[in-house]
């Protein structure tokens, strides 16, 4: 069976302008959202604070819970529904707040809604110090990963390719971050993990195309670079679609069946894998062609490599 005809020769490179503009628009949308909302929405682990998740036989209304907590002076608590049987209560960490705030919250809720058999399911408390530590580490880890990959590709291919790959990475990460901001999804440690995975995955795709470009340049040294790049994308298209397809398939299973705890994580992967596939075709490869002189310099050194 073949999804993609063997002799396909679609003009991807010809669409690079449209692709660049489209990507820029999506990225700007995300950046705009981040700007309007004053930065990303941080989860408990990065912002610090306390999260208490309570399971009931049947969850009370969010408004009811809010009223009960407000009566006890916790009006600033954010209450979220977690399916039909659970709610999550979040409070920011404040100066002089007792460490037992999670127990207070649970005892208030369990007293008021005792008929709905409340049970404490999850408690997460992160001090502000740890939160800012983790935030710094999170950003650093993404930077380290990108630098590490840049080095590796420079070593295996050459710097121009590394630039293209990193352009695609930055593209993927900013779109994922933007989508999260637009959809008001919180940034947590697992999301950073997802972003790092997206970085690795998007590269995976990019490298397959790059490898083919390098091979084709060696085989047809006389051909125009743009044509070589385009036919390389076409030759690997079947594989690109298949792999993205199978990976999306499993991540989709994770998204559907994995439950609340890793819902956002699998959503990030879902977005990232789609964007990563798109970028290895429309961003990473066309970037190689940017700058006339550079392009010819690129092929000379590829031939020598």
């Amino acid at each position: 069976m073949d999804f993609v005809k063997a002799d396909i020769n679609y003009d991807f490179i010809g669409k690079k302008r449209i692709a660049f503009v489209l990507s820029m628009l999506v990225i700007l949308l995300g950046v705009g959202s981040l700007f309007l909302k004053g930065g990303p929405l941080y989860g408990i682990d990065f912002a610090g604070g306390t999260l208490v998740q309570v399971r009931f036989s049947e969850a009370p209304g969010i408004g009811e819970v809010r009223d009960v907590l407000a009566e006890k002076g916790m009006g600033s608590a954010v209450i979220q529904s977690q399916g039909e049987e659970a709610i999550a209560v979040r409070v920011k960490s404040e100066e002089g707040q007792s460490e037992d705030i999670s127990d207070e919250i649970f005892s208030i809720i369990s007293e008021r809604f005792s008929e709905q058999e409340p049970s404490l399911e999850l408690v997460e408390m992160v001090g502000p110090q740890v939160g800012s530590d983790l935030r710094r580490k999170g950003v650093l880890s993404i930077v380290y990963a990108i630098v590490g990959i840049l080095l590796y590709i420079t070593l295996r291919f050459q710097f121009r390719f590394a630039l293209g790959a990193v352009a695609a990475l930055v593209h993927d990460v900013s779109i994922t971050v933007g989508v999260f901001s637009v959809m008001n999804i919180e940034f947590t440690l697992p999301i950073i993990a997802a972003i790092l995975t997206i970085i690795g995955y998007s590269l995976n795709d990019t490298i397959v195309v790059y490898d083919r470009i390098r091979e084709n340049i060696r085989r047809h040294p006389k051909d125009k670079l743009a044509g070589v790049v385009n036919s390389s994308i076409n030759q690997t298209l079947s594989r690109t679609i298949l792999t993205s397809g199978t990976t999306l398939l499993v991540v989709f299973c994770l998204f559907i069946f994995g439950g609340e705890v890793i819902h956002d994580f699998s959503f990030a992967l879902l977005v990232g894998i789609m964007v990563g596939t798109y970028s290895s075709i429309f961003i990473a490869s066309p970037v190689l062609l940017l700058g006339g002189k550079g392009a010819s310099a690129a092929r000379t050194s590829i031939r020598q490599a």
Binding site: M1, D2, A6, Q53, R55, E99, S102, S119, L120, E121, L122, V123, E124, M125, V126, G127, V130, K137, S141, Y144, A145, I149, Y152, L189, P190, A193, L196, T197, I199, G200, Y201, L203, N204, D205, I207, V208, D211, R212, E215, Q235, S238, R239, L242, T243, G245, T246, T247, L248, L249, V250, V251, C253, L254, I256, F257, G258, G259, V261, I262, F265
Partner: protein, 524 residues
């Protein structure tokens, strides 16, 4: 069959058997005795998010340990100065590493400084004003005290947790002053927290009967006791004016046990002092007959019984409105000793076992569905070759679990997600190879030549692509904590094992299949 193919088949089978052996303990509890003797018998470790339990990140307040040490000097110093007939107006720790000593008259200052320098050579003494001196520790001493306090806190917490009876607790030092505690499967997190956090400094002090709370003389302190009033159903705070001298501390406790009084069956804690403690206790009780001795734990007065007579033998009791659990925990902390400084909770994470079980179920379901979809897809798309890839995929799953069990890596929910992701990525290598083989077949190569070319041309691409994922996973491992680290672990293992199964195993299957067969065209 050619020997080369045979050798490869044997390698594949050996790895498969090895992985199966490593996985078996995770699947069953009933391992035969001989198995445990010669084969690995450890099951895959589940993280707290799957098992339920609590994780705490504590920070030892090391500055406090330094100041506590200074404060101990303050009480020694008063004794020394009393012997020398120098009046000390006050001696107290006013800031970090700063013990302020005020002498009664300015003429005493230099004399006091000289005595202090001689008596306490390890401490810096500096003149601050006409009547005040400042004592502080030199830099190395601060470092030593802080380091000691963390080491000691770690030891103390470890022995408390051990006595609390948690199975397989993890207590680790993190960085210079942090302690990470993992308590899988505990039922009452709050109780465990108070057990771990309690400073548990026990002091015996004498009640100053002459003084009143409104007029506290110099040299006395006011501490409070908590009394439960059954009439009002409220906890009352009762003030006690105590002489600011610690007669005996908890350091000299040899044993502490819960007992029940014979009359009402109420729990109390009985203490047994070591030899030195017993001697001091006897002396104190002898000197203070008919006065009240306050038993102070972490600056709360538990009780203040009147000393009727000299007590020899080194035994005392602490009574209060304890529940049996509270009394048991008090006995544990007194046995394990006090913390050198208080600890602050930086991070707390508790997961109920039901949520953990739920996560396991959902994780397994995701694996099962993802796995089945991929398998079906591969067969539909690649036919016979798809089956070969599927065999490699199944083997990959087994090997991942085997490696997890063998290295005793912790499996977490994100870790399961990592396995799911690996399923998707593992077929990538086979897709790459198969698409390449298709291309080579189109150029008119024989089946065997096409397979050879497909594998060899796709090989470097696969390695390159996987190494970038590995770089990302390693960075994540370095930076991630807890459950996220579990994701990095399975992703790393999965990427490595998938290279083996997708390249080596699938090729071996092809080669074995093609032995003595000549195919016109490969079903791919």
């Amino acid at each position: 069959m050619r020997t080369r193919v045979k050798t490869k088949l044997i390698i594949v089978l050996l790895v498969l058997v090895g992985a199966l052996v490593a996985v078996t303990p995770s699947l069953t509890d009933a391992l035969p005795g001989w198995w445990k003797k010669i084969l690995p018998s450890k099951a895959v470790q589940l993280g707290l998010d799957l098992k339920g339990g609590m994780e705490l990140l504590l920070e030892v307040q090391v500055e406090e340990a330094v100041n506590n040490a200074l404060t101990r000097y303050a009480s020694d110093l008063k004794t020394v100065m009393r012997d020398e007939h120098i009046r000390i107006r006050r001696a107290e720790t006013t800031a970090f590493n700063r013990l302020l000593v005020e002498v009664g008259r300015d003429k005493y200052r230099d004399e006091a400084a000289a005595i202090l320098r001689e008596e306490f050579p390890g401490i810096d003494v500096s003149e601050e004003s006409e009547t005040t001196l400042v004592l502080s520790f030199p830099e190395e001493e601060i470092t030593r005290l802080q380091e000691n306090s963390v080491v000691q806190a770690l030891e103390t917490i470890r022995s408390r947790v051990d006595e609390f009876g948690v199975s397989e607790p993890t207590i680790l030092r993190q960085g210079s002053r942090r302690i990470l505690i993992q308590l899988p499967g505990i039922e009452d997190p709050q109780r465990a927290i108070s057990l771990v956090k309690r400073t548990a400094v026990l002091k015996f002090m004498i009640v100053d009967e002459q003084a009143s709370v409104d007029n506290v003389p110099i040299g006395d302190v006011v501490l409070y006791g908590k009394d439960y009033d059954p009439a009002t159903r409220r906890v009352q705070r009762t003030p006690y004016v105590l002489e600011d001298r610690v007669l005996l501390t908890g350091d000299t406790i040899k044993d502490a046990r819960v007992r029940y009084d014979t009359q009402f069956g109420r729990p109390y804690v009985s203490l047994e002092f070591d030899k030195i403690g017993a001697r001091i206790f006897e002396q104190i009780t002898a000197e203070n007959v008919n006065r009240r001795a306050a038993i102070v734990l972490d600056d709360n007065v538990y009780s203040a019984p009147t000393i009727r007579e000299r007590i020899a033998g080194g035994a005392a009791t602490i009574t209060g409105d304890f529940t049996p659990d509270e009394a048991a925990d008090l006995a544990i902390v007194l046995r394990a000793g006090s913390l050198p400084a208080s600890v602050e909770i930086l991070q707390k994470w508790t997961v109920s076992p039901t949520l953990g079980t739920d996560s396991i179920r959902k994780g397994l379901m995701s694996i099962a569905f993802g796995f089945c979809l991929v398998i079906v897809f591969m067969i539909l798309y690649f036919r016979f070759s798809g089956i070969v890839a599927n065999i490699a995929l199944i083997m990959n799953l087994v090997v991942i679990m085997g490696v997890l069990a063998l290295f005793q890596a912790t499996l977490t929910l994100p870790g399961i997600a990592g396995i799911v992701l690996t399923i998707g990525m593992a077929v990538d290598a086979n897709v790459l190879i198969f698409e390449r083989i298709k291309e080579e077949q189109r150029t008119g190569k024989t089946v065997r030549a096409a397979i050879d070319a497909g594998y060899s041309k796709a090989f470097l691409t696969i390695v390159d692509a996987n190494i970038t994922t590995l770089i990302a996973a390693l960075v994540l491992f370095q930076f991630g904590t807890g459950s996220v680290k579990g994701f990095a672990v399975t992703l790393t293992i999965g990427v490595i094992t998938s290279m083996f199964t997708a390249i080596f195993v699938s090729r071996t299957i092809f080669e074995a299949w093609l032995e003595n067969r000549s195919l016109e065209k490969l079903s791919i």
